[in-house]
Every structure is written in structure tokens, then in C-alpha cells.
């Protein structure tokens, strides 16, 4: 039985190779100075999806990404590795989104895609390091979520069995489908791009790319529909403008400081309301949040 899988992926600045000009004076990331890459843990997520596709005949893998026009590269990179299709959410109205606005927009797009069994995302992106988008998408879609996924063992009969990598060991859990799972970097690396898929899909373009690029092979897509990358603007997805983009983003960056971690010990809490409550109070007291 085939699954319908949506992989959430983000194009990020390559913060692993940071030069002097990586940050602008105002504390924001200088995206022009950093190469745009497929967020590494989203590649781990894609690999889990592709493994399910290898295992369950008829499975399809759809990529969903939000970003500027050039983020279409993410869809192409996915197609080169074995994804079936992809959607790019791109609109000025989405610009400046924090994790809340991003997960809102993504969840609206997923509602439009409608038919799916599993959503897989990377644990976090290397530009923001929040690990919030996957869980927030799950909440907004009212779906169960499993985080820190290292391996999907099986996805059969409406259930998914998963190995999670936790601080002190490995946990195997089961969840109903559909669900949202987020994958760790300790999961297997993504397979390389495949030569034949690369040659098949290298001319895949979004509508805006076709309009803006004076390139050959534009007519190809008429005979080869798989070369059309779906591009959705704010008009294509049912949304409420107040939750979008900058307006929908309560996060404000006040300052950025260099922090050197010194304390090595960690504190382990149980999931009880009391301990969480105490932690929140403690963090508010020392102005970590507030």
C-alpha cells in the first residue's frame, strides 16, 4: 500500500561555512554572502521519505517549501534524489515570517494539498535553530507529532513505528497516521542526486522562472508536465492575512550577542506541569524569556 508523504524543506544560508561578512551590522544574516543550500536535517527527512518510497510500492513524495523564487532549487534538488513533485510557496505577503507565520502558511498549503498520510520535516533549520516549525505545523493541523526521529521502522495499516534518538537512549514509539514527524541529523544522510533523475528534471521550472529567464527548453514543459514546478502565491492558498508574513510574526530580535557556553551540566525535568511551571518562572526571572 502506497503512502502519500509531504516533506517540508527549507532553503537556508550555509551557516556551516561562515566568513567574516556573514552578519550585517544590524544583526541580521547577510544572505548574499552565504551559499543557499538545502537545510541539512531536511535532507535527512527526505531520505526517510525516499526509504518509505523504496519500501512501499506506490508511495509518492511531495516537497513543500516556502521562500523566494530561487527556493525552487530545493524542489529540483528533491526531484534529483527521487521525490515525485513539489510546491513552492512564494509571495511577498509571506516575507519576514517567523516560525509561527511559517507554520501557519505551511499548514494552510497542506490543507490545500489535502490528501496525505505523513508529513516529514527536519528537526530544525541551521539558520534559526528553533525546531519549532514541524511541531507547530502538527498543532495547527491537529495531528499527532513525533520528534527526534532517527528511523521510520514501518508505516502499515494506518500506523507508523518510529525509532527516536533521545538524550539517554533510543525509544521506539507508534503513532497513528496521518502524523507529523521531525528527523534528526543522526538519521542516515540523504542519498546522492541520481544522474538520470538529474538529467530528467534539470529543466523543471516554476512559472515565474519561465517568465523571468530567457532560457531555452521552455517549451519542453508542454509535452513533459513533470517539468512544471507548482508555485503558489497568497492568492492560491486560503489564508488569513493577519497571520502571514511580518504581521503574523510576533518574534522580535532585540540584539545579537556572542555567547560562549561554559556550563556543561544539564538539568533533566519530568514532563509534569509543576516542573514546567517552575522552569518557566525560572527563565522569566533570569530574563531568558519574558
Amino acid at each position: 500500500m502506497g503512502l502519500k508523504i509531504i516533506v517540508l524543506a527549507k532553503q537556508v544560508p550555509d551557516t556551516r561555512n561562515v566568513g567574516k561578512d556573514a552578519m550585517k551590522a544590524d544583526g541580521t544574516v547577510n544572505r548574499a554572502a552565504l551559499a543557499a543550500i538545502f537545510n541539512p536535517e531536511d535532507l535527512n527527512a527526505l531520505e526517510q521519505a525516499l526509504r518509505l518510497k523504496d519500501k512501499y510500492k506506490g508511495t509518492t513524495v511531495t516537497l513543500l517549501t516556502m521562500g523566494p523564487g530561487r527556493a525552487a532549487d530545493i524542489i529540483r534538488e528533491g526531484l534529483f534524489r527521487g521525490a515525485d513533485d513539489g510546491y513552492l510557496l512564494s509571495d511577498r505577503a509571506f516575507a519576514g515570517s517567523d516560525t509561527l507565520a511559517t507554520s501557519y502558511t505551511l499548514s494552510c498549503a497542506i490543507k490545500k494539498i489535502k490528501d496525505f498520510d505523513l508529513i516529514i520535516a527536519g528537526r530544525q533549520a541551521i539558520d534559526g535553530d528553533t525546531a519549532q516549525v514541524g511541531p507547530q505545523v502538527a498543532e495547527k493541523l491537529n495531528l499527532p507529532q513525533v520528534t527526534y526521529v532517527e528511523e521510520v521502522l514501518k508505516a502499515e495499516k494506518g500506523k507508523i513505528t518510529i525509532k527516536r534518538r533521545l538524550e539517554r537512549g533510543v525509544e521506539t514509539v507508534e503513532a497513528p497516521l496521518p502524523s507529523v514527524i521531525t528527523v534528526n541529523s543522526s538519521a542516515p544522510s540523504c542519498r546522492p542526486r541520481a544522474a538520470k533523475l538529474l538529467m530528467k528534471y534539470k529543466h523543471a521550472r516554476t512559472m515565474s522562472e519561465r517568465q523571468s529567464q530567457a532560457e531555452d527548453y521552455i517549451d519542453l514543459s508542454a509535452d513533459r508536465p513533470y517539468l512544471n514546478i507548482q508555485e503558489w502565491s497568497v492568492n492560491d492558498v486560503e489564508t488569513d492575512a493577519q497571520w502571514l508574513g511580518l504581521t503574523g510574526s510576533p518574534t522580535k530580535v532585540k540584539t545579537i550577542e556572542n555567547v560562549v557556553f561554559q556550563a556543561k551540566e544539564s538539568k533533566i525535568l519530568t514532563a509534569s506541569d509543576k516542573e514546567i511551571d517552575e522552569l518557566v518562572k525560572e527563565l522569566m526571572l533570569n530574563h531568558t524569556i519574558g
Binding site: 546522492p192 541520481a194 544522474a195 533523475l197 538529467m199 534539470k202 531555452d216
Partner: protein, 569 residues
């Protein structure tokens, strides 16, 4: 996050040679495949773009997976478990990545699920893989065998075996035996035809077989009982799934330790005849060997690249007497000469690959339609060039690669002698390149005909006539002077009319031709890209003095002087 293709712009430069237009046209034949295969190119630019993008995949896999695995593979090596070769863990990872990326049947036609790439990008991939791990390229590069099957096997065999290679099965070429190394005419492994079931059966021993447990093996065997020379040998395909071969042992080698070198015992092993009986050595092995020698050329260039890079990075980092050792003349001269030899090797590699590409494409074209007279002549010209350039390439680049490995280790000083730096492995891996697929001495035996028939000289004259910007004319004048000196030396040797005398000086003459040819190729590269200027300068400078020494040696050498060498040997 290294990419061994994009971090080396010289590769793209060689990929984009003007002759590629002709090669792609011959290989893609009006781009007819595009209506049948979704991955076939639309036109020349599209094809070239595909080669480049696929090489980026090769570069990424080599930088991120194959190179980091090389040390572990060298230490672990393959082993035999239940009569099966188990690769080192890293080897298997490398192979899995390249198989998943679909990089196994690179030159095979699309109808056999290959990529239908020319030889040039395939050899470039081999160059890249060799830089990452020269031992691994032996396993991956045995896809050459598929090319031989594609050339000589029947359609049924091609349909059964080639897609298996394209989809990731490995191959082997089983030629050498305990008493048949350089002299393959002495092969004894027996092939017997059983009239009852109409099948061939193989019995005997093969030794030094790279990847001997590959899925598909090409085996040279004696099919004509009672014969004792090359005319009694035929070529067979053996399929591992027959399980009729015992892997007696894996050799414990000095280098390329990840590559399993096997001793095989064939016992009533069913096999299929390839092509015609008695043509095994005379025709098919010659083709197979020429392909393999081109591969060793690529392996040598990749190793040279690795040796040079290790040397530069060490010489920049290492400080003695208050400065980086790269600042000392004794060190920078070594590095500069290494770079010149590397660039010379690489340009010869791709020049030769292009010759092979043109004539093989014609050959495959001739299976579909009769060639015009013009095309037939063109094919012959390029085949001749390929035949003479292949041994020159294999001989010169493998010797250079050893010189580079030696000098790179020397620059590392005592540290290079330790296992702490990759150069120690590179040095060991390089050593085999001048030995297998025909020693340098045997390459000279093949190449000397290029000297005596004036094939090299004619090509040199063509290089001489190629357009050149005025600033580069002085290099050409030097090369013309070297050519005159070479002609004189050749005449001196041939005039003696003695084969032993010719054999004695053969390597000197071949190397003289090699220096001139590589000098011209570098000069023509500089015409297209100024970056090759310094290598051209240094290489021609070196070649000129090397040739002078050889000319001097020959001009003071009479046939009687051979006696000293026989007495002293």
C-alpha cells in the same frame, strides 16, 4: 562538503574542449534519443550541461564519501567469507553511493540503461575518483568491461548483461595466470565445448585478478586444444551466479589495498563465448587493454592531483627557520615542477580520450549504417592516434605519478614517512601504476612504433601548424628546435638497423616524443586559457633539457656499447 569536480577548474576546462562538438554529434546522432528517453539531451549545449552536472555529483560523492573513507579502506581491506569477497566497509559505502547515483554504466547506450556519455566525461569521473581513492577506482572502473561486451558480444548477451552493469553490478577481467603475465599468449586456462549441452566450460587458475569476485567476468581462455600461442585463445563471459569458481586467496599488497586482488580456480565453470573463437587475445583483449590503459592514465592523473595537493598544503603550513617551507627555492621548484607534470599528464589524458571517443563513436555508428568514405578515413585517423597515444599516456603519466608521489612525500619530510598523512598511502598506491596493464617497458614496446612509423612526428607537425597568439610563438620555436633534435636522434637509431639497438634506446625516443607532444598540448591549452602559461613554461624548459640529455646519450652510443650493459647486468 568538498567537491572534487568543482574545486578543480582544470577539469571543466578539459571537458569544454572544442573537439567535444564533434564527439557529442557522433555520440548523440541528431539527438534522436530525446523522444524515447526522458534523460537524453536536446542538443549539444544540453548534453555538455548534463556531463558537467553529473560530474558535480561524482565530485560531491568523492569529496564527501570516497576520500574520507580512503584511510579506513586502506587499513581494513577486503576479505573472503564463504568463498565470497567482502569489501571493506568504506568500499561498500563508496560503491553504494555511486550505484545509487547511477554512475555505473556511464558510457553504455541508453537502450542498455546506461548514460550514453562519451569517454571524456567517463575518464574525468575516473580522474576524480582516483584522486579520492586510487584503490577504489579499480572496482568502479571495471565498468570498462561492459564497453568490451558492448563492442564484441552479440545482441542477446548485451541485453542480458549490460543493464546489470548499468544498475550497479561490478565486473572483472580475468587475464593473468601464474605463468602468463606480460606474455598473455601463454594463457593456459582451458575452455572446453560440451557437445551434449552446447555449452563452454572453463577449468584452470587465474591470478592477480582485480575484483575477481565481480558479478560479470570476462575470461581469456584456451579454446583450441593443442595450440600454444595467442591464436588459440578466446574470450568468455562468466556469471558469478554460476558459483563454479573458488576464490583461493586475496593478495596482501603494498598499495591499492581496498581493491581485492584474487586468485581464482575455475572448476567446470559454465561460460559463454564472446564474439568469435580465437579472437580472444588478438582482438578483444587488445581492445580491453587499451580501455584499461586509458583508465590507468586517469588513475595516475588523479593520484598526481592528490599528491600535488597534499604537498602544497603541507609546504604552506609547515614552518622551519621562521617561514613556510614553500618559500625555499628547493621546495618551490619541486612543487612547480610537480604542477607542470600534473598539467602535462592531464592534457595528454584528455587528448587521448578524445581520440578514443571519435573512433569508437564511428565504430558504433558503423553498426547502424555504412560509413561514408570520408567517415571511414576519419575513423582510421583517430583510431591510429588512439593506438599510439594510449601507450604513451599510460607510460608517461604513470611514471610522473610516481615522481609526484615521491616528491610530495619528500616535501613532507619525516612526517610523510609516518601513517599520519595521506601521502604515505598515495605513495604506495601510486607504485602499481607503472606495472599493471602492461609495465612502462611494455608501453614503450607499443609506443616505439609511433616513433619508427613517424606517427608521433606527423601529429607534432599538425600541432605545430595550429594557430597561436604572437606571445606564445617563442614556445613554439623551442618545440620546433626540440622536434629537429628528436628527428635527428630517431634517424641515428634507425640508421643502425638493429632491433636490439632500437629496443635499447626505445624508451629514450618515446620520452623525447612525449615531452614534445605534452609541450604542445600545454601550449594549446594556454592558447585557450592563460592559467596554463606557467606550467607550459616550466614543462617545456624541463622537456628541452631532458631531451638534450637523451639526444646526447644516443649520439655517443655505438652498437658495440651494448656489450658494457650486458656485461654489467
Amino acid at each position: 562538503m568538498a567537491n572534487f569536480f568543482t574545486d578543480n577548474p582544470d577539469l571543466l576546462f578539459h571537458l569544454q574542449h572544442p573537439l567535444m562538438k564533434k564527439i557529442v554529434a557522433l555520440k548523440e546522432r541528431n539527438f534522436a534519443d530525446k523522444d524515447q528517453f526522458d534523460y537524453a539531451p536536446m542538443d549539444f549545449e544540453d548534453a555538455m550541461d548534463s556531463y558537467e552536472k553529473v560530474l558535480e555529483i561524482v565530485g560531491e560523492i568523492c569529496g564527501d564519501i570516497v576520500a574520507p573513507n580512503a584511510e579506513g579502506v586502506d587499513a581494513e581491506g577486503p576479505k573472503i567469507v564463504n568463498n565470497e569477497v567482502i569489501y571493506a566497509k568504506g568500499t561498500q559505502e563508496n560503491l553504494d553511493a555511486l550505484v545509487k547515483a547511477g554512475l555505473m554504466g556511464i558510457t553504455l547506450p541508453r537502450k542498455y540503461e546506461g548514460l550514453n556519455f562519451p569517454i571524456v566525461p567517463y575518464i574525468m569521473a575516473a580522474d576524480i575518483v582516483s584522486r579520492a581513492d586510487a584503490g577504489f577506482v579499480n572496482i568502479w572502473g571495471l565498468q570498462d568491461c561492459a564497453e568490451t561486451i558492448n563492442e564484441f558480444a552479440d545482441d542477446d548477451q548485451k541485453t542480458r548483461f549490460l543493464p546489470r552493469i548499468s544498475n550497479g553490478e561490478t565486473a572483472a577481467m580475468d587475464l593473468t595466470e601464474p605463468d602468463a603475465g606480460s606474455d598473455l599468449q601463454a594463457v593456459q586456462l582451458k575452455a572446453t565445448f560440451n557437445e551434449k549441452d552446447g555449452k563452454w566450460y572453463l577449468n584452470g587458475v587465474k591470478r592477480f585478478i582485480t575484483n575477481g569476485d565481480g558479478h560479470v567476468s570476462l575470461v581469456l581462455a584456451r579454446s583450441e586444444a593443442g595450440t600454444s600461442d595467442g591464436r588459440g585463445l578466446s574470450m568468455f563471459i562468466y556469471d558469478r551466479s554460476e558459483k563454479a569458481v573458488t576464490i583461493r586467496r586475496i593478495e596482501n599488497k603494498m598499495g591499492i589495498k581496498g581493491s581485492p586482488t584474487c586468485e581464482l580456480v575455475f572448476k567446470d565453470a559454465p561460460a559463454e563465448l564472446v564474439g568469435d573463437r580465437k579472437m580472444g587475445l588478438i582482438k578483444y583483449v587488445m581492445a580491453l587493454m587499451n580501455g584499461a590503459r586509458l583508465g590507468i592514465g586517469a588513475q595516475s592523473v588523479g593520484l598526481s592531483e592528490a599528491a600535488y595537493r597534499e604537498a602544497v598544503s603541507y609546504a604552506e603550513e609547515r614552518k622551519q627557520f621562521g617561514k613556510s617551507i614553500i618559500e625555499f627555492p628547493a621546495v618551490y621548484e619541486m612543487l612547480a615542477t610537480m604542477k607542470a607534470k600534473l598539467d602535462a599528464s592531464r592534457t595528454l589524458l584528455y587528448e587521448t580520450s578524445r581520440y578514443v571517443d571519435v573512433y569508437k563513436s564511428y565504430m558504433h555508428l558503423s553498426e547502424e549504417r555504412a560509413l561514408t568514405k570520408e567517415e571511414r578515413n576519419d575513423m582510421k585517423t583517430y583510431q591510429r592516434l588512439a593506438d599510439f597515444f594510449t601507450p604513451l599516456l599510460k607510460g608517461m603519466t604513470s611514471e610522473y605519478c610516481n615522481q609526484l608521489a615521491y616528491d610530495s612525500l619528500q616535501i613532507h619530510g619525516g612526517s610523510g614517512f609516518m601513517k599520519d598523512y595521506p601521502i604515505e598511502r598515495i605513495y604506495r598506491d601510486a607504485r602499481i601504476t607503472t606495472i599493471y596493464e602492461g609495465t612502462t617497458q611494455l608501453q614503450v614496446v607499443a609506443a616505439i612504433r609511433g616513433v619508427s612509423t613517424a606517427a608521433y612526428l606527423n601529429r607534432i607537425r599538425e600541432f605545430e601548424a595550429m594557430p597561436l597568439q604572437p606571445e606564445l610563438h617563442s614556445y613554439r620555436r623551442t618545440l620546433i628546435g626540440m622536434t629537429e633534435e628528436y628527428e635527428k636522434a630517431v634517424k641515428q637509431v634507425l640508421d643502425v638497423k638493429d632491433n636490439e639497438y632500437l629496443d635499447f634506446h626505445a624508451r629514450r625516443l618515446v620520452e623525447m616524443a612525449g615531452h614534445i607532444i605534452m609541450g604542445y598540448l600545454l601550449l594549446l591549452d594556454t592558447e585557450r586559457n592563460e592559467n596554463f602559461r606557467t606550467s607550459t613554461e616550466i614543462y617545456i624548459r624541463m622537456g628541452r633539457s631532458e631531451n638534450k640529455a637523451r639526444a646526447e646519450f644516443i649520439s655517443n652510443f655505438t652498437i658495440d656499447d651494448l656489450g658494457f650493459y650486458k656485461a654489467n647486468a
